[in-house]
Amino acid sequence: MTNHWIDIGNSDCILIMGSNAAENHPVSFKYVVQAMQKGAKLISVDPRFTRTSAKADIYAPLRSGTDIAFLGGMIKYILDNELYNKEYLRAYTNATFVLGKDFDFKDGLFSGYDPKARKYDKSKWAFDMDDNGVPKMDRSLKGQRCVFQLLEKHYSRYNIKLVSEITGTPEADLVEVYKAYTATGVTGKAATIMYAMGWTQHTVGTQNIRTMAIIQLLLGNIGVAGGGVNALRGESNVQGSTDHCLLFHIWPGYLANPSTKWPKLADYLQRRGKSNDPLSANWWQNEPKYMVSLLKSFFGESAKKRNDFGYDWMPKLDAGKTYAFLDMFDDMYNGKVKGFFNWGMNLACSLANANKNRKAMATLDWMVNVNLFDNETASFWKGPGMKPSEIKTEVFSLPACVSVEKEGSITNSGRWMQWRYQGPKPLGNSRADGDIIMELGSKIKELYKKEKGVFPEPILNLKWDYMTNGAYDSHKAAKEVNGYFLKDVEVKGQTYKAGTLVPSFAFLEADGSTSSGNWLYCNSYTEKGNMAARRGQEDAVNQIGLYPEFSWCWPVNRRIIYNRASVDLKGQPWDKDQWVIKWTGDKWIGDVPDGGWPPLESLESPNPKSKWPFIMQVHGFAQIFGPGLADGPFPEHYEPLECPIEKNLMNDQRMNPTAPVYGTKADAYLSCDPRYPFVGTTYRVSEHWQTGLMTRPQPWLLELQPQVFVEMSEELAELKGIKNGERVLASSARGSLECTAIVTKRFKPFQIGGNAVHQVGFPWCFGWRWPQSGKEDSANLLTSATGDPNTRIPETKAFMVNVSKI
């Protein structure tokens, strides 16, 4: 989240799209209710009328996988009716930038496309630079090649009629949503978006969110209270795990994972874009300090300048290859993986195209399953359709204790790192993940010491000292994450002794004199104590629910990021009542500002001591035009891998031209095929958690949602002769699933390009291990194994199915 949970209560208009907050983030609704009771409008856009829709002022249905068309129409609506915040746009976004001669968009493709590699040459999307190497700007926003005009041109095609034909949303509903949401383009009003997997799990997942970011920038809704772009994370600590490198392509603190593209540390450290604009903070220019401090944290004394601080010891991604779950299981399916740690996950149920993944696991020599309970993954060899006698995989199960049985932190969606003490002691032989991994690491180190092996240096040099009295010590780990001074240093007249905790990332250095396990978390555990454990109840001076002394949030306890865009050029807030920061003449008050530089004062002659507010961007401006993504600088509507229409009504490319397509027999897909005529989607229910591993064995929760179901419209049920509550068979090109039909008014057929298109939906929280009947299985048996070209998140939210009576 750019903002945080409490801040939702400050909003004037809340769009819940790509998520179902009432059902899947029930506590968030407390803040939605707060906002509504102050007069905010709630909009729910969802293929199905949900418990969120039931509470909304406006509900609009849309066909799964058409969000960019829906939102692109909103961009056009904003531009046509001049509802944007022009001052904000000119001062803080790259709407004024001018594109180089190579940029073009034709027939659904941006310039630079290589059809063979399914890839773009992004250099074709470069900005025009002046003689000093600073982007040329057209502050009139009128030049043909400026971003603003190109944006207008790009979305000129997204007219209400066409958008409605693609999305299936009635035209009147589109207008109603656009009108309500864009009313917040005026100064002093803010709208927010609450999204989740309904947006990310598509072949255009990242671009769904980009489209919304563009809308928020046009309306001046980024950086302000009650605004922002807010991802509702799917677990209490997903934010924390992502910050600490859950994903294959990033290291702690969103540093890029080393790659063969950058064989030496110097290559890595020099790869980022430079800015020649003295007003651009270009914060990532500090990356060398964070990277070297991280390597120091990994390897301690062994990391020296002369050995590139151990950079050579870290694994490099093969350039051009991706290592997401989809890729991992594709490799596994093809027999390229021997062993597998399945840690805190239930991939046999949670990952798209479950049949492929379950088969893939049978090629393993061994699997280690670390979890609270046995699950469908550890027991895959005795699952439906498996012949145990023919499966060689040896499975080891290590029982983990539950979160409340250990001390440590979680970081919530709003980036708040919250320390939790230990409740009861772990039951039986179960152990904390920290203990399991510490012992594992120590044993591997011992083995390497004894038996050497190929390339032992990374293991032998790894600093592995997070234990106290033989047990994992979360305080030691948290301090390591914050970081230490490794030498006595003097900064601005103050001496910091070696071995003391670094006060913030401004103190990190690239010469090996500091360590930090994650620069973003620098400031979280300092000589002042464990900031995440704070429970102060005082609000900040602006009284907008920042509660700066309750827990701690990254970066440097800034509760609303990009907050220097919440003020005008003089440093005065756009919203006088719910202000985030304010310049008093000599300092900022309110939230921790995005850099303490004074206000810009004017665009014509900006204060040379100031900086543009979007400091994480090379040039300091928010990106209306985003040249960094794999699939294009402007979001464009493409159909999902499997869709109900032959031709994309928006352009000549049916699906995202850069989305990955996997080629095994188990990856079959059938678009627009009469055998699978209905759009399918998956979702969660309030009553189960993730794959249901922790909730399905819980009788009170199973009582509420006892069986996997398929929701369908009354019209479709009549067409197929299906009665409410009866068991039916759902099938896709990849698998089938027996489930109970819920025939409901909450799904309605869509009118797509003049034809009726039916959609159905399934929860993915079931698995064959429990309930005991063994008949309730995961909806991921049906979903397709393709995904977003930027993140490789699978496209589980839109695929094609059939349903029939059994």
């Binding site: 059902e23 506590v27 209710v33 009771q37 418990r51 009553e687 009582e703 949602q705 069986q707």
Partner: protein, 239 residues
């Protein structure tokens, strides 16, 4: 009027059913064996093992789809017809401090059907041996300064509990706000019950027994007649 009351604001109930589970947890009630019957509502009805049940109802009003949620429970009537029907304070009595209507194990000796029939809201349920059970206002919690389990767990503030006068005031205040956007909004039998629901649509659309039924009123009248001929004693005695 002294005692306690619930205010249940269905306009902000999201049917997360935290209340339903919290009730089972606090009372140590077993789960029922259920199947998906083509609805999210489960179990199908209140029972001897289920005192709190969120009812789901899909209706179309003026061409607009509504999904109505009704976290059903005992209303703890100010003058409880069940208690009057039982005429046995060792089986059914009203707690003098809170007004909670409490069923004891002695309900086994009552005519269970008569008690069920007497309830205008169709709440009490009997087990096989005829013992009756229903929401007890979490009296043990309330007497120890805690909120009822369903109220404590509610994430949105749909479930509220406190002194009756304050909760009635809260309900009336909220009604006046809701009425601006939902002219049909109303409080359900606020003067007669201690679990006051706020709804925006015709109560029947939420649940057949959302408001006191016509028949129940007749029975209540019959009971009231009985009261005239026989003096009422000990009905508020603490058990």
């Amino acid at each position: 009027m002294p005692g306690k009351s619930f205010f249940i604001d269905t306009t902000i109930c999201t049917a997360c059913r935290g209340c339903q589970v919290a009730c089972k947890q606090w009372h140590g009630l077993p789960a029922e064996k259920t199947v998906n019957r083509g609805t999210f509502q489960n179990p199908a009805d209140l029972s001897f093992m289920t005192y709190k049940l969120v009812r789901f109802s899909e209706v179309v009003v003026d061409g607009k789809l509504k999904w109505l949620f009704f976290p059903d429970q005992c209303r703890h009537c100010v003058e409880p017809p069940c208690q009057m029907t039982a005429e046995d304070a060792t089986a059914i009595f009203s707690d003098s401090a809170t007004g909670a209507v409490i069923y004891t194990a002695k309900t086994k000796n009552l005519d269970a059907q008569a008690i069920v029939d007497s309830c205008p809201y169709n709440v009490p349920r009997a087990c096989k041996d005829g013992t009756l059970a229903k929401c007890d206002m979490c009296l043990d919690r309330v007497e120890n300064g805690l909120l009822p389990a369903c109220v404590a767990t509610c994430p949105t503030g749909a479930m509220n509990f406190g002194n009756r006068d304050e909760l009635l005031a809260m309900a009336k205040k909220r009604l006046s706000v809701v009425k601006k956007s939902h002219p049909k909004a109303k409080l359900l039998d606020p003067d007669d019950v201690r679990a006051i629901f706020l709804v925006t649509e015709d109560p029947q659309l939420y649940h057949n027994f959302a408001i006191a039924s016509r028949e129940a009123f007749d029975i209540s009248r019959a009971v009231a007649l009985k009261r005239l001929v026989r003096p009422l004693t000990g009905l508020t005695r603490r058990w």
